[in-house]
Symmetry: C2
């Protein structure tokens, strides 16, 4: 395990939680008092961070929701990352960016994510091939999660296509395991397709899983915890975004309650 | 043809050029007088734009090279786009972003690219499925280029895998043609694999091609022009980045010379 995954494990052990809080700051869904301010994203998320960090093994801001506010959105992201470092210096931050490009271009994306925004992990898209992932994986202390089996209906279009007797997502899993020299590559495996996820686990027994799809998307926590664990016993990083950020009830108490309930629900199924 | 591709055609007809100038502002490669300034990206690229726009049917800034300068890089991108609009109001701007995500997240990326940065086109990654592309294609006036067959060696890993008797990139081409309701979807087809590119053209006779790989990457202009043309006669959008931005010789005269030579070289092979 590299530095990133060790830090996931330390957070897991210290907090008894494999919950990753997804930070998707949709301004229209925030309580009214936040909306309209230039700093709405930071103001809202900094409170979520304060109220949930001790219940989470990671935070995962999604770039799309910051970029849609332009350069100012990225300023808010930098402030947010700085705030997380102050509140909980040891918690890993995964930037959900789904980047994928070649050679020098990938190097610039990696620089943006790991140096400019100083994140600890990233999600990447494998479509263009292993060379697009290796540029990110060259940062051996960081965590690189390649899209593998995603939770949307469109996974049937390409991810699930048969290639020589196995679905493409299995070919992706195998190839990612092959190129994982620093022990810093993991897979994004949706929690909504348990039988397919099981095949991914069999193809890549020791690659850590980042599993979106619990909460709003309806993934089954028992399947997640059974399939998500690696052969060496690292539990999955289970992401919930909307379920934690925008639950029924009073903000921010309801966010903490939702995080607590999700953590405890997942823990029930740890073996 | 939608508004975006009509505008490509108008530029092509007016300027006799199917060259797309790729704007990949690598600060380390710029002439020394630009480096070290906070506004290096804008200062350098605004001159390139002024010296090449009348020889180009499109500009293609690559997001990676702006993001690696953080929020300030995106400010420079906005200034650059504003400058292009002033210098040549009719030229389409394709943001090379290779985004791909689901549902609401994709909507936020689309908002960033088409509303905040007000680009005319985007490159997207199809790995997660057609639903990830459709969110972008819902902007019916814009141009959406899905990664299909790319010019890097890693295209062998997944793009070229056999799926039921044809490579994955052909399945992508077919599916993109299927979902192209507004006539606004095109494909990214690398110029470095002519025989494979030919198969893509056969599978999707009328989808416009954005073709990187000429110049520094060594793509063959005769093959590009033969394969790149759509059934209805729209020529390919042929991208050159490094070859135009960083040629041998004095800046910016050498950039104009390189653009002129590339345009003329491509035109030799128009039938």
């Amino acid at each position: 395990m590299n530095k990133f995954f060790k830090s996931i494990e330390e957070n897991y052990n210290a907090k008894g939680s494999c919950l990753c809080v997804g930070l998707d700051p949709e301004v229209a869904k925030m309580p009214e008092r936040f909306r309209g301010s230039r700093t709405a994203i930071f103001d809202f998320l900094s409170i979520v961070v304060e109220r949930t960090h001790d219940l989470a093994c990671a935070f995962k801001p999604n770039m799309a929701f910051f970029e849609s506010s332009g350069p100012e959105g990225l300023v808010q992201l930098q402030r947010l990352i700085g705030h997380i470092r102050e509140v909980d210096p040891g918690i890993p931050i995964i930037l959900d960016a789904k980047r994928g490009d070649i050679g020098n271009t990938a190097k610039h994306y990696a620089k943006a994510i790991f140096e400019v925004f100083a994140a600890d992990g990233i999600t990447v898209s494998p479509y263009m091939g292993a060379d697009t992932v290796e540029t990110f994986a060259a940062y051996s202390d960081k965590g690189i999660f390649a899209l593998c089996l995603t939770s949307n209906p469109g996974y049937l279009d390409f991810e699930n296509r048969d290639t020589g007797g196995e679905p493409l997502f299995i070919a992706v899993a195998r190839r990612m395991a092959e190129i994982d020299r620093a022990g810093n590559i993991g897979l994004v495996v949706g929690a909504t397709h348990p039988s397919e996820a099981e095949k991914v686990r069999a193809a890549a027994p020791d690659l850590p899983f980042l599993m979106p799809g619990i909460g709003a998307q309806g993934g089954d926590p028992s399947a997640i915890m059974r399939i998500g664990m690696t052969a060496s016993g690292l539990p999955p990083i289970v992401n919930s975004s909307r379920g934690i950020l925008f639950p029924e009830g009073e903000f921010p108490a309801a966010c903490r309650t939702a995080a607590l309930e999700t953590r405890d629900l997942l823990n029930k199924y740890i073996r």
